[in-house]
Assembly symmetry: C2
Homo-oligomer: 513 residues x 2
């Protein structure tokens, strides 16, 4: 089938790789990922700016859906958005010892501005704990100022050597929550609360199942006491760290002198947290649902829910077909997709594709963009008062071509989307189950991670950084997390898969993006 | 009256100037502006990052309202959002001759990244015509790819010497529209369409009257054929350039080789436009409506529409008062504030201020934050089934303390907000009329712009850059724009106010922010 032309951005945009073809996953998974992004018109590598990407309209619209839903969740949990400077004085980064060690190698540095060399260079924020700590110190003086619950939507920059669209780019878009509390207990509750916001969002909105856990010492955020994470299984068995929530303890409070007077009149450093998700989520979305025909989108992150394709051959059929398309669009437009309790309402988004190209090319294009529902309307359908419906993926929400009375289709549309959303989650969960194994011997382990293979492996580990490093060295698999209660096999003691030393519980091991 | 304490960000944040006092406008207008921002908890100067500001939650929430409304208008006019890299190869900036001349002095330059010196430095985008032009060249090959209608929400950086919060900061947040068309005519229509989107937004949403016009050659965007603008009168008679829309002609198309094949098979450069508004709008909002008691917000940009203050003295009164407050909030929460035809719905946002501080302090704080409606609920009000209402500004929408039956108040709430919105626009328009003068002699002109004074002056100008420069040199006033049809006095010929040479029509002259 030929590449569909006539898109509003045309053919010339497909310059990232081979034009039009989507490589099957079995053949070359990384190439498939690039192909889906290109053919779905989500993004392209910037090329002229190292490791950056251009997020194209369809990709950005998915990010906007993600932002909108998450932002409402942050506000419901009491957070308010603010904006802090892009540039950070270089000296700030060095104030927290572990933080500088973690981020210094990845910094982009502004040395000149306004035609002059700067006295002190600025770094482009790789994350904003330091500069926000500086302002928290100005804003907080009393326990009455706490908790302070802030979120920022921003771009950040980390000069990574190996980049991959959405998953790891030198510049990326994200949100970073930063909060300050009067007790460690309260801060820890916040860290868990926001991890659960991420976990719920991933499952309910992205239909992406995740494991919630604690990072090991060597994998935690630079400057944190501990980091919680959600880890999502991709179709190739690798794990994507999809969101993190950090207990910063008093580390940044000490570094930036963020003190408060307690109710008893005692001075103490605040307890801080930070948490973030990024455009990386779009990569996770792709590798959770998409197939060899291209992008697959759960309705709750789909910028367009349905496309209507008019089918007609003879000139005299045209008007009636276009009229029917417009009527169906108008009916769908009215359908409220809001979630219960939402302060903002969303409606169904429908496109009537009336371009003068053949229907097959249109089907092909919208399939690759992951639009959940395709509706065909032709003279026969109109005569029968029906529509021809095809879901992007065959599930209990619809299989093959369905011919449905128009009124029934409209009345059932929201239910159809809800079921499709649930089905994509079910399918992803079932895949996760098949990808998840319990391993007890090193031979099994080597076999599971041979070559480029990966699984979600629950294994015993002796708890040492040496063993963790040795596992990574030998297999490229890493300890993704120590599971939170209910997130893995029930804790029972055992023997480390590599050293045979005692282990209190199994941890999640996988290769990671 | 003492500074209200107990805010969720406390007292320590007010570090930008004298604590708590708002300087009257008559006494010191620039200081009043700083005071309103500080006391309204909108922003503070970053200090540690030259010329930057920190946008605090209340200020950022206003920006979010602005973004949300504008974004819907952009989408309704067929634009889609995308995201391009923050960093631009330095060589890109030099490709368009006027562009580099305009922006080179203000660039911030990244020379090092990932621990190494870069072969070619990057500049932080001061605006994105160049890098977007680069991608447009990849995306456009045929007339079928046109028009290409893109918008970007982003941060940009211009290393300005003199900065002022919101009005001019080295980093600022904005949106930049970038479009490509197959004919100059179509591009010009886009330039006008988007100027009208800005003008309508300013008047309908921000209640800020504007004059729509054309920039002179010396004031136009660096690299444009011509620039349209909206100019808003501030309370001190100065003008704020609140939005611009540029006809880029084929200048960037030539510089970045953005060619397309026309229907006739001929190769030609695309015709481009760009248009933007920024966080500067928040400064314009402040200087359009606020008074000596602090911030005043039109409902359509107010993050919080009403605050409910419980009034009680005796412990046994507490429960009934809090119950009534919760009931009123629940009723107001349900009120849909959406505009007709909006794809997204907004609801009334209400805060019950139940902090254990005295009501007077609460009144004072919410007044300074510009919340349109204050509601007091005490035992007597409950007994009478009424609420005590006070609007932030006395207008036809409400004057002084009003005692209104609760049900009537709820039923009339949206109407009250709509009227208050209309009243703020009416007041601003009336002020603009008193600030607008027609001047015909140079003596009148010198008097009108003596010292720090400014008015919106309609004057004849001989059309030369020399005269324009001489006017600026002698009075600091500048030609803000040549009015579009219907935006100023009807065009009639006259004599230049400075040189006496012939002039085809009057132009708008004012001092500018």
């Amino acid at each position: 089938m030929a590449k569909g032309k006539g898109s509003d951005q045309g053919a010339k945009q497909n310059t990232d790789g081979i034009g039009g073809k989507i490589t099957p996953r079995e053949e070359d998974y990384p190439q498939w990922y690039q192909d889906v992004i290109r053919e779905g018109e989500l993004a392209e590598t910037a090329k002229v700016v190292k490791g950056c990407m251009v997020i194209k309209p369809h990709g950005y619209a998915i990010w906007e859906k993600i932002q909108r839903d998450l932002d409402a969740r942050f506000k419901e949990t009491g957070h308010r958005n603010a904006y802090f400077p892009l540039l950070i004085p270089q000296s700030f980064i060095t104030k927290e010892a572990e933080h500088v060690e973690g981020f210094a190698p990845e910094l982009a540095v502004v040395t000149h501005a306004g035609g002059e060399a700067l006295e002190e260079p600025y770094v482009i924020r790789p994350t904003s704990e330091t500069i926000i700590g500086h302002y928290f110190a100005k804003w907080i003086s009393s326990h009455r100022d706490l908790p302070l619950l802030i979120n920022q939507w921003a771009n950040v920059m980390r000069w990574e050597k190996r980049t991959r669209m959405f998953l790891r780019t030198t510049e990326f878009l994200w949100q970073e929550g930063h909060t300050a509390h009067s007790t460690h207990e309260e801060a820890r509750a916040e860290v868990e609360r926001m991890l659960n916001v991420y976990g719920d969002f991933a499952e309910q909105v992205m239909a992406m199942p995740v494991i919630r856990g604690v990072k090991t010492e060597s994998e935690k955020f630079a400057g944190a006491l501990s980091s919680l994470c959600i880890e999502a299984p991709m179709q190739d068995g690798k794990a994507l760290q999809a969101g993190t929530s950090h207990d910063l303890g008093q580390n940044f409070g000490r570094a930036f002198d963020v003190q408060f007077q307690s109710e008893e009149g005692k001075l103490d450093y605040v307890w801080q947290t930070s948490w973030g998700v990024s455009t990386r989520l779009v990569g996770g979305l792709i590798m959770t649902h998409s197939d060899d025909a291209g992008l697959v989108l759960p309705p709750r992150v789909a910028p367009i829910h349905a496309v209507i394709v008019p089918i007609w051959r003879k000139a005299h059929e045209r008007d009636a077909v276009f009229e029917a398309c417009a009527r169906i669009k108008a009916s769908l437009d009215e359908i409220d997709l809001s979630q219960p309790r939402s302060r903002y309402r969303d409606f169904v988004e429908v496109v009537v594709d009336d371009r003068p190209i053949r229907p097959g090319a249109k089907f092909y294009e919208w399939e690759r963009r992951g639009v959940p529902v395709r509706i065909e309307v032709g003279p026969k359908d109109i005569a029968k008062g029906q529509v021809c419906v095809r879901m992007r993926v065959d599930t209990a929400a619809g299989t093959g071509k369905e011919f449905i009375p128009e009124a029934d289709f409209i009345a059932g549309f929201r239910g159809r989307l809800d079921l499709y959303q649930a089905e994509l989650l079910r399918i992803a969960r079932e895949r996760m189950e098949t990808q998840t194994v319990t391993l007890d011997t090193w031979d099994e382990f080597l076999a599971a991670f041979a070559g480029d293979a990966s699984v979600f492996a629950w294994c015993h580990w002796d708890g040492t950084a040496e063993t963790e490093a040795a596992i990574k060295e030998q297999t490229k698999a890493t300890i993704r997390c120590v599971p939170l209660p209910g997130q893995g096999p029930a804790p029972e003691p055992g023997k480390c898969i590599l050293t045979g030393k005692p282990s209190p519980q199994r941890v999640l091991i996988a290769k990671a993006y």
